[in-house]
């Protein structure tokens, strides 16, 4: 049963992410990315990481994808993306080779010596309980730092995107300046 579920999720995730990477339309790419994230949370549930799966659903599919779709209201999404590419074969070869190298590098110490569990799961605790036990003891300081980082990111996002919000997008000074200068684009 788990085998079927794993292969189902794995094939679908790979196909959806391939669509994301290959599609010319931004809207298709974003939709398939969101669907792939939902299926990845399914993988987390199979692995017994229930809390991580729920966080993946809420944060990635809920927040990040909503942020992307809000941002896409600024951009012209109906227009297909025109990209000139060198040779696709080189890109595929480079991507595959680098990924293989990374997998080898990171799996080398694991194969070399038996890794031992540093913080073993507490017996009898459900997954959210175990997460809480480790997160608020061993990882308390990184947790607080992550909270401050999210606050900084929120303020930065507001300040960056909110600048000149009262002006229309197409008539900002820079664009008129760019057009008068000409030849720059």
């Amino acid at each position: 049963m788990i085998t079927i579920a794993f292969y189902f999720f794995a094939v679908l995730i790979t196909l959806l992410f391939l669509v994301t990477v290959m599609s010319k339309n931004v809207l298709y790419a974003m939709t398939s990315l969101a669907a792939g994230m939902v299926l990845i949370s399914g993988l987390f549930f199979i692995l017994g990481a229930d809390f991580l799966g729920v966080v993946q659903l809420i944060v990635y599919v809920g927040a990040v994808m909503a942020l992307y779709s809000f941002a896409m209201m600024f951009f012209d999404v109906n227009k297909d993306v025109k990209e000139k590419n060198g040779s696709a074969a080189t890109v595929f070869l480079l991507g595959g080779a680098i990924a293989l190298m990374l997998v080898l590098v990171f799996s080398a110490p694991m194969i070399g010596q038996g890794a031992a569990s540093l913080y073993p799961q507490v017996a009898g605790a459900t997954n959210p309980q175990a997460v809480g036990l480790v997160l608020f003891t061993k990882y308390l300081v990184p947790f607080e730092v992550a909270a401050v980082m999210l606050l900084v990111a929120m303020i930065a996002g507001i300040i960056l995107a909110g600048k000149k919000m009262d002006l229309s997008l197409s008539t900002t000074e820079e664009e008129i300046l760019d057009e008068t200068q000409g030849g720059d684009k």
Binding site: V64, M149, G157
Partner: protein, 100 residues
Amino acid sequence: MIGLSHYLILSGILFSIGLIGVLRRKNLLMLFFATEIMLNAANIAFAAISSHYHDMAGQMFAFFVIAVAASEVAVGLGLLVILYKKYGTLDLDMYTVMRG
């Protein structure tokens, strides 16, 4: 039976898909999507190793990766909006200022 290696291979495949996206895309928004794919591939590997060793550290790192991804998206999209206001396009080739 599905073991650790299955998940690691899946993670490697997804990571290379993201890497291919980063290499071949010229649109900045698409580059962001490809980065998300790479982060998710890393998360799958973390969760798989965490469940293989019955250790919570992997899941903790996955949580922090998600937090970093969320803040990266917030700041990055703000910058994208500014770039789009300034240049009217998201094509990376249009941002080149030095012509050799």
